[in-house]
Amino acid sequence: MKETPSQTAGPFLHIGLMPDGIGIAPLAAPSPAEPVTLHGTLHDADGAPVSDALVEMWQVGGPWARCPTDAQGGWRLLAARPGAIPFVALWIIARGINTGLHTRLYFPDIDHAGDAAMARVPQDRRGTLVALDEGDGAYRLDIRLGGEDETVFFDV
């Protein structure tokens, strides 16, 4: 059998995926014992903020979480303080995104020299995946769907 085709999540994904606004409890995201904050912005190829997206995070051995983007394209997620695995996986859906986009956030302070995915990324694009350590357990990564500094997306 063949995989069911994807379609865009559209502009109203909050209804189904963040239904607390309409009185249905959202899916419980486990809170990590030693949390770190991951945040950033999401922009399109023209540099406009993407304000109707959802960013989902899966961390190996850590939590799952999701966050809708705000009017400035901002998102914020709690991850577990990373151990040996240098990344969290991110998945982005929105109006205009026909098939969900897979990318990663790499922690700048954890060695990713041996990471198989990073090894496939051309040297000059690796920086789009590495977060900035802002101190106090906060990491920032701005994601660009297109343009000169287009973020690396993976065929997962």
Binding site: E3, S6, A9, G23, G96, V152, D155
Partner: protein, 232 residues
């Protein structure tokens, strides 16, 4: 995990659907090794589902009230590419009301809100991958994409299987709807076969007589393309 069959999915940039143009990556996707792609994901269970989450007709209605619109049951199975049912898959669903209006701050369509309908629900698949939920038939509605564009009646689905690579968001259309062939978003699909895969079939065998019509929609997730071998 088998590689994703991209002939099945819309390309990122589909100029007939305007919103895709500035949101489509142009530099190509970088393939990951299959073992990396097979990372297992979060597991959701019965504790994540409320008693009314699969009944959109009543889950946002005042006591004794129900949503307005043609009553339907949507049912089917979540399968892997080997045809085996996927138990414990979480489906999150959202839709417009019977007039084509979403309960969302950014939806300003003329059609009125239904005070007894939110348009959100979720269900888990059973042991055989089967699921069902009760709702009302959503209405068609216009959207900004050139001088005159309409969405066919549709229900949004978000699916969690077992692996991150199986994560899927899609839309279900209804058999016989003439709006499908005029829709710029349905037109992003690469083939008539792909459109058919998203089109639920009227399924009178599962109707609830004198209550609701049934539509069947099976969902296939990636993985296990080999012929399934039943244990025992």
């Amino acid at each position: 995990m088998t590689p994703r069959d991209w002939t099945r999915h819309p390309p990122a940039c589909t100029p007939g659907y305007f919103s895709s143009i500035p949101r489509a990556p142009r530099k190509g996707l970088i393939p990951l090794d299959p073992d990396v792609a097979a990372l297992t994901g979060p597991v959701f269970g019965a504790r994540d589902i409320g008693a009314m989450d699969g009944d959109l007709i009543r889950n946002a209605a005042a006591p004794g009230e129900m949503a307005i619109g043609p009553r339907i049951v949507v049912q089917g199975r979540v399968l892997d590419e080997g045809g085996r049912g996927v138990p414990g898959a979480l489906l999150e669903i959202w839709q417009a009301n019977a007039g084509g209006r979403y309960r969302h701050v950014r939806d300003g369509y003329l059609a009125p809100l239904d005070p007894n309908f939110a348009g959100a629900g979720r269900v888990l698949t059973g042991e055989d991958g089967g699921y069902h939920f009760d709702t009302v038939m959503p209405g068609a509605y216009p959207f900004p994409n050139g001088p005159n564009a309409w969405r066919p009646a549709h229900i949004h689905f978000s699916v969690f299987g077992r692996a991150f690579a199986q994560r899927l968001v899609t839309q279900m259309y209804f058999e016989g709807d003439p709006m499908i062939r005029h829709c710029p978003i349905a037109a992003t699909l690469p083939s008539a076969e792909a459109v058919a895969a998203l089109t639920a079939r009227y399924d009178p065998d599962h109707d609830r007589p004198m209550d609701a019509r049934a539509f069947r929609f099976d969902i296939v997730l990636r993985g296990r393309r080999e012929t399934p071998v039943e244990a025992g």
